[in-house]
């Protein structure tokens, strides 16, 4: 099994979850109110109340095959709005 970590702006959460659903992931986990820094932008806590939105961290445990479907749906979103996606190996306990 694979583990996918997605980190991107909370404002795109809804759209991102739609991508996950359409790639038929078996499930996902969402952590909001996340801050951070990317190559260009800093995301700080106060961006939540200015409406810009902090980041969301989404974890998906799924098969490699799902990941491939997912990639082509998610890549354009990440390119347009920014955000990162990393994959690691993972096995059920």
């Amino acid at each position: 099994m694979k583990r996918l970590d997605l980190i991107f702006s909370e404002r795109e959460l809804h759209e991102m979850l739609k991508c996950l659903e359409s790639a038929e992931v078996p499930g996902y986990t969402v952590m909001k109110h996340v801050t951070g820094r990317g190559p260009e932008r800093v995301v700080s806590e106060d961006m939540e109340f200015t409406g810009l939105g902090a980041n969301a961290h989404v974890i998906v445990f799924c098969e490699q095959s799902v990941l491939i479907k997912l990639k082509e749906k998610i890549q354009p979103l990440l390119n347009y709005y920014g955000g990162v996606a990393y994959v690691s190996e993972s096995t059920p306990l």
């Binding site: 106060d46 109340f49 200015t50 709005y81």
Partner: protein, 331 residues
């Protein structure tokens, strides 16, 4: 005379709490108002000013100066971003210029509230219907900003980045803060018409509590504004100058319009503050969505780190001085 007004303004609780927040960052105190508590206060303030404004609008009716004033305010929200855009294009690309222009065309509700508190403190009357102007100045600026990108921007934007009309209107009318403000205005209006007991029962919450909640929120705004200061360095001196002089320029425009409309001094000050304040809530959120090419640090740092403190501390009393000079009180 303006100096004494500035001093009188500085020694009020809202401005003092704003300073307390600013200083806490400068001296590296670990005072922190953790998320989402600031959101609680910002939602509360929008709900309360909307509700009170709706009530006032019901009381005053739509006659007299209401329609002209609100109309002029909306006009300013269309005009100001255009002026800003022309100025900003001297140094910036289309995306950044349009985003910042939209922010300066729009308004800051907290600056408006602080101006109201200033007037109450000075014992100067103003009309509740000015809140309607506040509520209606957010959307036009967003629309102009997005149109500027659409019309003057490069035609070879990737397809996904073509702004659609539906999207523009959605962002302009339905972002959370504009929606809550307008909605509460409507609720206040309806309640005042059909359920006067409801107005009375809301009063402890929307009325009495307001000043204290404003102070608490300004404490947080002080912290947030001061945290933005370091990133101002990166925005460069052109934008720093813009963040101070544009409000002054808008204020002068605002005074001319107020004079033409023969607004009372109190209403004139609020009108001027609407013109000279810049949005750090609704507009940035809309721009982040539809013009991701613009650097959010530009429009947030200037509006929140510079224009907002300037208006709160120096701007309001300064504009009051100008109003007093140009618009003779009828008293």
């Amino acid at each position: 005379m303006e100096t004494s007004l500035v001093l009188q303004n500085v020694l009020t609780p809202p401005v003092l709490f704003f300073f307390l927040g600013t200083v806490s960052v400068l001296v590296r105190s670990d005072l922190e108002i953790p998320a989402p508590l600031p959101k609680l206060f910002s939602l509360y303030l929008l709900l309360a000013i909307g509700f009170k404004g709706g009530h006032a609008l019901q009381d005053s009716g739509l006659g007299g100066q209401v329609i002209p004033t609100v109309g002029a305010a909306i006009m300013m929200a269309f005009l100001l971003p255009l002026i800003c855009f022309v100025i900003l294009r001297v140094k910036l690309d289309v995306f950044n210029a349009a985003a910042i222009a939209a922010a300066y065309g729009s308004i800051s509700a907290v600056t408006f509230i602080t101006a109201e508190s200033f007037l109450e403190n000075q014992g100067i009357n103003f009309d509740g219907y000015m809140v309607a102007a506040l509520a209606l100045m957010e959307s036009p600026a967003i629309i102009v900003g997005l149109l500027l990108v659409k019309l003057t921007g490069p035609k070879n934007r990737p397809n996904s980045r073509n702004i659609r009309w539906r999207e523009i209107l959605h962002e302009a009318m339905l972002n959370g803060s504009a929606y809550l403000l307008l909605g509460s205005l409507l609720i206040g209006f309806l309640t005042a018409a059909y359920n006067p007991i409801g107005i009375e029962k809301m009063q402890p919450f929307t009325g009495k509590l307001f000043y204290g909640a404003e102070c608490f929120f300004l404490l947080d705004m002080g912290i947030v504004a001061a945290q933005r200061l370091p990133s101002l360095k990166k925005t460069g001196s052109f934008l720093i100058a813009f963040a101070i002089f544009m409000p002054l320029f808008s204020a002068v425009l605002g005074i001319l319009v107020s004079q033409a409309l023969s607004l009372t001094p109190g209403n004139a000050l609020l009108f001027v503050v609407l013109c000279s304040s810049a949005s750090y809530l609704a507009v940035p959120a809309a721009m982040r969505m539809t013009v991701p090419e613009a650097k959010s640090s530009y429009y947030i740092s200037t509006t929140l780190g510079l224009t907002f403190p300037f208006n709160i501390v120096v701007g309001i009393p300064l504009y009051m001085g100008l109003v007093n000079t140009f618009i003779p009180s009828t008293l």
